[in-house]
Symmetry: C2
Subunit: 411 residues, 2 copies
């Protein structure tokens, strides 16, 4: 639909056909007038007016802040006048460099990350880190300690068997992952290269409220599902890693915060993409990073700072969790949360119905009222409400009101 | 800014503050009226009217089709009325399943992928596949053959040294990677588990026009930078892999097409995220995939099908490449492309100026006319115009006109 008619100053650009949508509501372009210019003018389709949001209690990918989504939408086609989408930017161009550098700097401000720690923006999820951590931190004959408080720390320990000698020094499996051990009970192995924990178990809803000290080596934490939900003293850890898709962005971005002196000791079989040294030396730009995801994480970090930082965010998260757990505990057994009270997650709230035959109806009725993704993980059943940073208090209040109403109907 | 006032049917939502932008042109929200409803209504900011696009010749991430960007933009906040962004969808929910299944089915249609091949949507770029290929296809003592036609196949061969015994059976390094070997000259090793090629070298602009036959084992190709730029007979390959960020989407998605009988033989040290069997058994949903990137790839696949498929796409790509190489070859040496004519890439066109001192000015003047990212890779210098599927003929014509004009001024 465009053609050049004379050298390098005249381009005709017109668009008269309707824009192709397979959406049920096709949107037509108003044809633009024919323009002769060195610039290509194109008109965006109007946004749809059906902007109704659901309350999305999914465990991840999960709900994102509305203002972040709206900003991403407004900037998608042409980022701040640069003439291209963030998705199209060279990862070595000045535009994207400004994006990734601001994302890192805002994350450092949020978590008060000390300068002796590197921040890496990687790919592959926490599951990749299950291998990368032992590959980078120890030799095949090294002993390492794992505390297994749920499915994710269990997977981490199993993956480590390929690369070192992991000891599971505590497991909550026999109690269906409803507890965190008393730290005094942990029999850490002398000479262990690290002590690994999962700070928040997404499936089981068990969260560390304080952190054990590694008696040997360093403390390593998978913080995927409570990353940036509250302040954390980074200096207590050797490595913190997190998939973005719970609290800070879309899936496809994994953030690693690592004390710099731990970098540079990868085993010979480490794939280059799992070698922290390579990524650290190249500021996460050894190969093409997941640019658009990093951009959205950056928007979330800005939003969290504007909310007043993680102290303020934690207050909101505590309030939300409090009213939801109170509703469960105050239901006289109609709803039940199996997790020991002192270690209940502020992020993922699993619960069952005393009358388990009503669970299907609960989920269906909730969906009618635009509350979705309340079904528990397939491995544990029941219900789960994930109430990450971006879930509003209003969303939790609506869920609690619905639960009371449902109970009244079925008690 | 929202509060619940009574159980589960009334939510107040208002927004009176200006939307926060750090863009130079702040955009204000029109305050929405207060609404009482079970649904949350939010108004999107208007799109900016500064929609001027540049012609982006970046090597990847690279320009994407305008209609794909506009559609992604229109759907970003609320995907087809489901009440959430694709970025927020559970990867196990019906909405995202419909997206990934359609993406796979459209890709299968585009490349006519035979049913005995699996399609995997992974993370980590081609660089991850440099390790995953040997880890999955051979044992540590196996011999494998690599043809090294540029930087990327060189990196692939080096990474393979960690996992098997790669032989570089041909290298174009001494001729600065400007050639592809005659297939009859290749001394393939009997018993080799595979023959690896890079179908198009992004940095050096060298492209296989036909493919060698593996005398032993299977043919494996890194097609990152010419994937979906032309029809390919998939049945000739054991494995094809490609980062998305050239022709088919944003960075962060890696596509692997693999013959099913090759799956299931991973070495013991293979990280679970590099094990094709795990991803195949779980339809790329073993862990959370890069959902939003996969969605955008799906939009690109739809667009390519609507253009008439890869045969039509190839015609356009040939036309674009032809006028650009003709301009270079017809410049009486003012511009030079070092690559042997029969193997010049349709995707990446490297060229130098006879008067190399003018290169900086060339890039600066081109940028003034909204043609950006023309600088060659830092390892080779000169210029490079990447003219992937989404670069319009108009864009190439404009570049050619500019080149002629620049030459006239400086001849």
């Amino acid at each position: 639909m465009s053609m050049a008619t004379s050298p390098h100053t005249t381009l005709f650009q017109t668009r008269t056909t309707p824009f192709r949508f397979s959406s049920p509501r096709p949107i037509s372009f108003k044809p633009t007038s024919i323009k002769c210019a060195t610039q290509l003018h194109t008109q965006s389709p109007p946004l749809t007016h059906s902007q109704d949001r659901v309350f999305n209690f999914a465990a991840g990918p999960a709900t994102l802040p509305e203002n972040v989504l709206l900003r991403a939408q407004s900037e998608l086609y042409n980022w701040r006048g640069c003439g291209m989408s963030v998705m199209e930017m060279s990862h070595r161009g000045k535009e994207f460099l400004s994006i990734i550098q601001k994302a890192e700097s805002d994350l450092r401000a949020l978590l008060q990350i000390p300068p002796e720690y590197s921040v890496l923006f990687l790919q592959g999820g926490a599951t990749s880190q299950f291998a990368a951590v032992p590959l980078n931190l120890c030799s095949p004959n090294d002993t390492v300690d794992y505390v297994v408080t749920g499915s994710w720390s269990d997977k981490a320990a199993k993956e480590a068997q390929k690369y070192c000698k992991p000891n599971v020094i505590w497991s909550g499996k026999s109690e269906k992952y409803t507890k965190i051990p008393a730290f005094g009970d942990l029999q850490q192995n002398p000479g262990s290269a690290y002590l690994h924990i999962c700070a928040n178990e997404t499936i089981h809803g068990v969260e560390f409220k304080e952190y054990p000290v590694a008696q040997s080596g360093v403390l390593v934490a998978d913080m995927s599902s409570n990353f940036c939900s509250k302040p954390v003293d980074v200096s207590k850890f050797g490595v913190i890693y997190a998939g973005a898709q719970k609290n800070v962005g879309p899936s496809g971005v994994t953030i690693v915060i690592i004390r710099k002196d731990l970098i540079g000791k990868a085993q010979g079989v480490t794939p280059v993409m799992f070698d922290y040294k390579i990524h650290d030396e190249n500021n996460s730009l050894y190969n093409t990073p997941p640019c658009y995801g990093i951009y959205v994480c950056g928007l979330v970090f800005e939003d969290l700072l504007e909310q007043g930082g993680l102290g303020e965010v934690e207050k909101k998260n505590k309030k939300k969790a409090e009213i939801l757990y109170s509703a469960i505990d105050g239901s006289k057994g109609f709803y039940r949360c199996p997790v020991e009270k002192s270690v209940r997650s502020l992020m993922n709230v699993p619960f069952t119905l005393e009358k388990s035959e009503l669970e299907g109806e609960f989920i269906k009725e909730a969906a009618k009222e635009k509350m979705v993704q309340l079904k528990g993980h397939r491995s544990v059943g029941g219900m789960r409400a994930s109430i990450y940073n971006a879930m509003s208090l209003a969303g939790v209040e609506k869920l609690v009101a619905f639960m009371k109403d449902f109970q009244a109907k079925h008690a």
